[in-house]
Amino acid sequence: MTQATEVLFPTSADEAVAQFGDGSGVTVVGGGTIVMPEITYGRLAPTKALVLSRAGLDTLDVSGATVTLGAGLPVARLAELAQDVKALAQCALNVADYEIRLQATVGGNLCAGEGQDAPRGDLQGPLLALDAQARSVGADGASTEPLEEFLGRRAGRLLLDVTFEKPAASAFAAIDYAHTHEYTVLAVSGVRTASGETRLAATGLAGFGTRLRSAEAAASDPERAGAAAVADVSLGDDALASAWYRERTLPVLVRRVLGELEESA
């Protein structure tokens, strides 16, 4: 199995793009935290593995108000944005543990398929609230699109980076399943843009992260917004919590995030 696998280690973004090609038959390995156990347990037998550890995609670029995160950026480094994008840093530091955060990548976190037993992709929450733009390549060439759209078609694409504008304020609230390293049951991220727009997003849902547009429309009334948020999401039972539980706690997290955004006004 692993003998038959072609393993590539591109040493630049261009090389990674060229080697990815149209993505068919390619298994992308970021930090390895999601893919390696699947290989170890015999559930994944890649024919061609593209390992991005040396592709130079681990960049964190701040140009004025614009922030660009390379797909290969370790999750731990988002702590550097604690001043400017509090929600993103808090979310990142809430992922797993010290060692995993050093090895897991932004790209892996965003592109991982939906978890069967527990939600994945915590970073989708704050990045959706930030209305990040995702730059990727794949079968139909290169594209830059809202992260929300990218998530719907991420299988078969190679994510290169995500870009967003620094917000005026941001907030993050999560319910964790108490453990040595905590699993996130449900989380809400909120952003108030420089122009005064409020955006909300949640993770820990059935499927990937979602914008809470009904809640956003009622953002001036946190009670109403919390109740409205339930209409925006599809909830499921999993190993961490039930849909019933998430339905009751989602409004609470929405209210907390809106409250925190209000306080930093």
């Binding site: 199995m1 347990y41 015999g42």
Partner: protein, 456 residues
């Protein structure tokens, strides 16, 4: 005594901190093959067809074992305690729990072993499983076990552990109130950091050297010898540091299966369980269902107890009758209750068979009894320490199965607990000791249960 209370270094302490402790998976023997198991994907099914020929023919595969390779297929680990054998080492015509091993493969490497398992053709006819122990007694419940849905081989072919003492009817008649509770602790998985692992090396002499993670080396030696039908002197078992067991490594079967593979292939064979196997199919602490009804007086005396226990044994008996027996002896906890009616059943379900875990059989009843004592105090508006101290075991009291207490520690423990919680006891309670009951501490209802009632 120079050792008690002294700071003694662990004999393996230096090894642990320098990474030199040798666990079974750290033993290196040239030529070792990797084992992987075909496990039942269903909770309950008939095996309607089975063909391992493709696996056996695969390059790199050295042996495949099934039930047909086991000289004695069913061996009761506790047959010396009167618990008959009921569990095949490898499934024969049916599977009774998800994860039950059906066949084991030995191959050159882990990947080949996994591929060989995938190449075994098997057809299963699914049956309705039973998971709720309360339903096991329904006439239309799925039938789980050849003995029926509960164990029927206690002494005298009793189908339950039964304890009767005094007269529970009288107690319930005389009570001011009856306090009831239902207690249902869930299964607990041991999660040792070291997963189950065994390495068996066939020697030129015909003996087998067995490296095992078992907590019970001589016990496991007997199990392997019985299944293989070889004398004990054919086996050399090397125990060593166990990476955590907590009771979950007393019913290991991996060394038996590796022994069969080592014999069949002529090569050393190692089987290291994955963490997923540990979670899905290693034995757990049992779930329990306990119902307690206590006849109590308004000043907190417990006159009598009726109790029903259902113990979830999973698909096979293993050690459950033994665990339930211990449970039954302790069903009054640290307290003396003179009139008793206890019935306990070992119930079969299509869960993974359950096994020992720290305090096997007794932690469940301790949890239930203590919670019930607090419930009594709460419902009667009494102090929870006083209710305990009053009913506490004392010298000369007897246990449910009439063992005379000569050294009970309930009183000193409850008083130490109060001290630790900064609770000041009323003077007459603070003065209590474990001395034999007399005066106010010996009401009429407790006389009959004393070791020497005629002296009172």
């Amino acid at each position: 005594m120079k050792a008690v209370g002294a700071r003694l270094p662990r004999y393996d302490g230096i090894e642990h901190v320098t990474g030199r402790t040798t666990y079974v998976d750290d033993v290196r023997v040239p030529g070792t093959l990797w084992a992987k198991a075909l496990r039942s994907p269903l909770h309950s099914a008939m095996i309607t067809s089975f063909d391992a020929s493709k696996a056996e023919a695969m390059p790199g595969v050295h042996a495949v074992i099934t039930h047909a390779d086991v000289p004695l297929l069913e061996y009761g680990h506790l047959s010396a305690l009167g618990i008959p054998a009921d569990e095949p080492l490898l499934a024969k015509d049916e599977v009774r729990y998800k994860g039950q091993p059906i066949a084991v493969v030995a191959a050159e490497d882990e990947e080949t072993a996994m591929a060989a398992v995938e190449a075994i053709d098997i057809e299963l006819d699914e049956r309705t499983p039973l998971f709720d122990i309360r339903r096991a007694f329904d006439s239309d419940a799925p039938k789980v076990h050849q003995w029926g849905n509960w164990y029927t081989h206690f002494e005298g072919e009793m189908d339950r552990r039964q304890i009767r003492k005094g007269s529970v009817e009288d107690a319930f008649d005389k009570a001011d109130t009856i306090v009831q509770g239902v207690y249902r602790p869930a299964a607990i998985e041991h999660v040792p950091l070291e997963t189950q692992v065994a390495l068996v090396v066939p020697e030129a002499s015909g003996r087998l050297t067995i490296y095992s993670c078992t907590q019970a080396l001589y016990f496991s030696m007997g199990v392997v010898a019985a299944h293989l039908q070889v004398p004990l002197n054919k086996l050399k078992v090397v125990g060593g540091t166990v990476g955590g067991g907590f009771g979950g490594k007393v019913d290991t079967a991996s060394e038996t299966m590796c022994a069969l593979l080592a014999q069949k292939s002529g090569r050393p064979v190692k089987w290291r369980w994955t963490r997923e196997e540990e979670f899905l199919c290693s034995s757990t602490r049992a779930p329990w269902h306990m119902e307690i009804a206590d006849a109590v007086t308004k000043d907190g005396w417990i006159l009598g107890r009726k109790m029903l226990t259902l113990h979830d044994s999973g698909a096979y008996g293993r050690f459950s009758p033994y665990g339930l027996t211990k449970h039954s002896f302790h069903h009054t906890g640290a307290y003396t209750i003179p009139n008793l009616e206890f019935d306990g059943y070992v119930v079969f379900t299509n869960r993974v068979p359950t096994t020992a875990m720290r305090g096997f059989g007794v932690t469940s009843v301790s949890f239930a009894t203590e919670t019930h004592m607090s419930r009594i105090a709460d419902l009667l508006g009494l102090d929870p320490y006083e209710v305990r101290l009053k009913n506490a075991n004392r010298i000369g009291d007897t246990s449910p199965n009439r063992i005379v207490y000569t050294d009970p520690s309930t009183v000193s423990v409850v008083k130490a607990l109060a001290g630790g919680m900064d609770v000041e006891l009323q003077p007459d309670y603070a003065a209590m000791t474990r001395d034999p009951r007399e005066g106010d501490l010996l009401p009429e209802h407790l006389v009959g249960q004393m070791a020497n009632p005629e002296d009172h």
